[in-house]
Structures are given as structure tokens and as C-alpha cells.
Amino acid sequence: MLYLLLFLPLPFGIYALRDRHLRRLGVLGTTVPLLSIALALLPHTDARGALQLDGVGLFYLVLADALFAVVAVYALAYFEDGHDTHAASFYAPFFLFLFATHGAYLTHNLGLMWTFVEGSTLASALLVYHHRDAHALEATWKYLMLGSVGIALSLVGVILVYALLGGTTLDWRGALALAASAEPGRLQLAYAFLLVGFGTKVGLFPMHAWLPDAHSEAPSPASALLSGTLLNVAFYALLRYTALMVPAGLAGFAQGLLLGFGLASLLAAGLFMFAQRDYKRLLAYSSMEHMGLAVYALGLGVPWLAMLHTLFHSLTKTAAFLSFGNVFLAYRSKVLRRVGGLMHVLPGTGGLVALSLLALAGLPPFALFYAEFQALWHSPPVMMVLYLVGLSVAFVAVALPIGHLVFGAATQPRSVPQNRLLLAVPAALLLTVVWLGLFPPTGEVRMLAEVLPWKP
């Protein structure tokens, strides 16, 4: 069953290489992830073997599939107007990416997981390359180089871990059981490589440099997938490996590093966002900020909170990228200055843009507020102050553009997108985020996170 789930997207990926029919591809893009969710939610008996689906895996798998489905629905409308001549080539990497994502979440073998994470890099590089122009090329090249180096560094960590466990197993559960016997000093070295390696893909400062380029050059649906899924894949790998440090008695060590990287990313993202002129880069840096916050939450030793944060961030960021996708459709420009007074010219999109930015800034009733509140709740006082400073700086940087963008003097768009789906999809996501903010699924996520070795 799990093998079916894993390989489900692959034939469609090959099929999509041939097919040019956008509508059919879009519908397939919606149904395959939905089908995957259904498959994933079926009860599983095969708890042995390389493929397993525990609480954490299920959580991320369902989240990823849901986002793929949502993005596919949006893409139906987004590519409809024919502005994008390469639209059909969106879907092959889409399915390949989905395949790699499934693989990363389904496999319980830490080495295989690495393979799939690398696979997701390659598949998403194709998404970044979508527009095939100079900028896309530049972004893809940088992404590929930095991502590959990062992933190679993490492979060093994987090898060291494997060797430290006596070369017997890379199964996650087995590794958890054996981790206590590993030599702590060397395990620290291994973790350093893992952190820098996977951290590159999570988008942690100072390995983040590929992130804004890749996000801003990909078409909006792809940007949403990058932010909402790709980063989570890497984060998931980091989560699994960090879990190994707990039975090894290195939880404090690993969490210290995570806190440092989390805060550094937060502060750096705030700084980069402040002087930003391109709205997609702004959103990309905001992803860096929130991944930093998720890593921080993990650094606090509260894995369920980190999971919650990634969940909220994925949903919110997808809504934001899709809302700004509408802006791009209307203005054909990613420059903040060229867009203004959306509430006068595109009221629906303007509202979505304002709300999604405010949601990203972490205001209630949006869910990220809850996650940030919880992170503060679990922080020691000094960390609280640092966290708050970073958060405030980032908040201001994210939210200030709203003034001009939404409420300011109006600039006329080149065209007004008509399809209602363009508004409905991000609106639905935002409503979900509000719902999650009002009724955060803390209990459920904690239950799912019980497989992780942290003491509650």
C-alpha cells in the first residue's frame, strides 16, 4: 500500500512530459494528491520495512499533498490566460517533486530519505527553471550548486551517523535505539554536517542565499510549492536526525545549535526584508524567517510546536504566494513600487494580499500568532527578548509594504484577472489559517508527535 502511495505520482510525471493539455493536467494534479491523502489516511499494517508512515510522516505527507492539490487547483486558473507559454511543462516536475516528497516522508531509512531529499532538490530545480529565461537560469544554477553542496555535506553527516551506529542500520527506529551507544563527540561532528547540509535546504542563515532567487524566479504556484513543501522536506529530515540526538544525550547540544541558527535566520531575514523591492523576494525571505522560527521551536525541544509552525507557515505562505500570483497576473511585474492601491483596482486581491501579509507578520486571528505565542511561552527570558526583537523587526518589514500596496495611491494593472478560482483558493487557505488560529490543533499534533523521543 505504501509502495503504491510512493510511486503513485511517478507515472503521471512521465505522462505529463508528453501531454500538453493544461486542463487535464491540472485536474490530474488535483486528484493525485487528493488520492494520496486518502491512501495515507487508510490504516496501515505494514509497520516493518523501509517504508513506514508514523505520526510525523503522516502529518507532513498530508500537509504536502493538500498543498499540492490546492496549488494545482490554483494553477488551473493561473495558467488559463495563456501568458505562460511553458505552462504545460509545469506538471512533469510537479509530479516528480510530489514523488520525491512522498518518498522523503514515507521512508524510514535515513539514507534513503537523504536520496529523496536530494531528489526533491532536482525536481524543484526544474520548477525554478520553468520560465527558461536568463533570470530563471541564474536562479536555477545557484540553487543547484548551493543545494547540491548542502546536500553533499549532509551526506557526510549521514555516513558518519551510519558508521557510528556500527554500520548496522539506518532505519530511524533502529537508529533511535542504538543512538545511546554512539560516541557522543563524533556524533556531534556528524550533526554539524547534517545541520549545515539540511539547513541549506531549510533556508537557514547564512546558507540561505539560493532561497530568494529560486522563490522569486519560479512561477507563483511553484513558489508556493517551494515554500510550502520543499522547505518542509528538508526540515523534516532535520527533525528526524535531531531526534537521534535525544537518546544519545545530545539534545541540549543540538538544540543550542538550532536556537542559534533559528535566531540568526530570523534576524537576518528581518534585515533583508526591510530593504526589499521585489515582493516575491520579500515572501521568500519571510519563508526564511519562519523556517528559522520553526528551527527555533525545535531548538526549544518542543517538536510539536515546530510541526505546528511549519504547518501554519506552509498554509499561510501558500496563500500569500497565490495572492501575489494574482498581482503578478495583473501587473506582470514583481517590483513592489509598480503595484499600488490594490483595494481600489483589484479589491479582492488587495484584501487577500493585505490579510496574507498580516497573517505572515503573525497577527491574530491568524494561526502563526498562536505558534509564535507558544514559542515564547517555552523560551527562557533572554531568548524571549531576542526572539521578540527579531520578530518585531521582521513584522515591520513584512507588514509595512501593505500600506502602499493595498491602501496607497492606485496604479493601473495591465489586465484584470477574472477567474474566481484565483481568489477562492487563497481565500480558502486564509480561512483555514484563521480557523487554525482560533482553534489550534495542539492536541492532535502533540499526539502525532508522540513518536519523537522528546519528553512531553
Binding site: 537523504w114 527558461r132 537560469l137 541564474e138 545557484k142 543547484l144 558508521a163 557510528l164 539506518l170
Partner: protein, 204 residues
């Protein structure tokens, strides 16, 4: 054998010819493959891995790179931020550093402790090549060198990784190189050059 790998890698830093670099890279892989065979001691797993390495990295990838280089129609000279002498100096320092740090990475059950510093050196030299050489092709070679270091590390610390993972890694590497090759063609087509230091449009 390990010394051979190291020398091959170190020479890469000192050469100004791309073809030579690629050949040195192939040589590296031959050495690594030989090492794998030597260590195999009858275990199928390492034999297969060594063969795979020899075929994919020793032959296929260098060949692919040479073809790409031929088709790209760019000069075969390496352009670098660092001239040869400083490159060698920094490379030497990095190798020294690798030997200095190497002991820290040698695990209790290491199969080939003396290869660990070499692996580290490869890693560092790969990074050096990547971050100082301007041409896209050289960056790929740097990456591959780095990757070789990782593989060597796996070999040195234990019997490599489990086979199917090894396979996955190989596929991924190959796919990455192919993707990079395609991109290089595009780079040449779009920009008219493959100088990555001149791709600085995306910033801020």
C-alpha cells in the same frame, strides 16, 4: 592508493586546463574504485559499488563533461579568482587542515583510518574549487570532487552505505550532473558565456 587520490585532487587545484582537470577527476575515481576493490575482501556489496563507481564516475561523467565542454565552445582555460600559486598555497593549507582535523573524524571501527584525512581534504578542495573558479564547468568539477570526498569518507569509515542507498546516491549525482550539463548549454545560449561570476542579476 589514498595518496594517489590526494595528489590527483591537489593537482586539480594547480592546473589551468579544464581538460586536465576532468582527467584528473577521472583518475581520482579510478583510484577510489581501486580502493573499493582492494577493500572488498570478497564482499559483493563493495565490489558492486566499486564497479558502479568506476563506470559512472570514472567513465560516464568525465566523458559527459568532456563532451559538454567540446559542445559549449568556450575556452578550455580555467578562470579563477585566485591565481595558480595562491590556489596551491590555499589548497596546501586546506590539506594540512584536513590532516590536522582528520583524527577527530576517525571513528572507532574505521576500516581505513588513513583515508579519512584524504576524504576531508577532498571535501575542502572541492569547496575551494567551487568558490573560486568562475566557469560553470569548473564548479561542477568542484562539486564532484567534494562528492568524491564524501564517498571516500563512507568507504573509509565503514563499508560504504547500504547498497540501495549507494545506488540512490549515484543516480542523484548523475541526474544532478546531467541537469547541470543541460543548464550549462542554456547558460551558453542565453548569456553567451558560462562564467558564473557574471551572473549577478539576482541580488538584494
Amino acid at each position: 592508493m589514498t595518496r594517489g587520490i590526494l595528489v590527483a585532487a591537489f593537482l586539480m587545484v594547480g592546473r589551468r586546463s579544464l581538460d586536465a582537470s576532468i582527467r584528473l577527476y577521472a583518475l581520482q575515481n579510478v583510484f577510489v574504485a581501486a580502493l573499493a576493490f582492494a577493500l572488498a575482501d570478497g564482499s559483493v556489496h563493495l565490489l558492486v559499488a566499486g564497479a558502479l563507481l568506476f563506470v559512472v564516475k570514472g567513465i560516464a561523467i568525465p566523458w559527459f563533461l568532456l563532451v559538454v565542454l567540446e559542445r559549449l565552445d568556450v575556452s578550455h582555460e580555467i578562470e579563477s579568482y585566485l591565481a595558480v600559486a595562491p590556489s596551491l598555497l590555499v589548497g596546501g593549507l586546506l590539506v594540512a587542515l584536513a590532516y590536522r582535523l582528520g583524527q577527530g573524524f576517525v571513528l572507532a571501527g574505521a576500516l581505513l583510518p588513513e583515508a579519512v584525512p584524504v576524504a576531508l581534504a577532498l571535501l575542502l578542495l572541492g569547496m575551494l574549487i567551487m568558490s573560486t573558479r568562475r566557469k560553470a564547468v569548473t564548479q561542477v568539477i568542484g562539486f564532484l570532487t567534494l562528492e568524491n570526498g564524501v564517498f571516500l569518507l563512507a568507504l573509509a569509515e565503514s563499508h560504504g552505505l547500504p547498497l540501495f542507498i549507494e545506488l540512490g546516491v549515484a543516480i542523484d549525482t548523475f541526474a544532478a550532473v546531467v541537469l547541470a550539463g543541460i543548464l550549462m548549454f542554456r547558460l551558453k545560449g542565453v548569456f553567451g558565456h558560462v562564467d558564473t561570476s557574471r551572473m549577478r542579476d539576482l541580488r538584494g
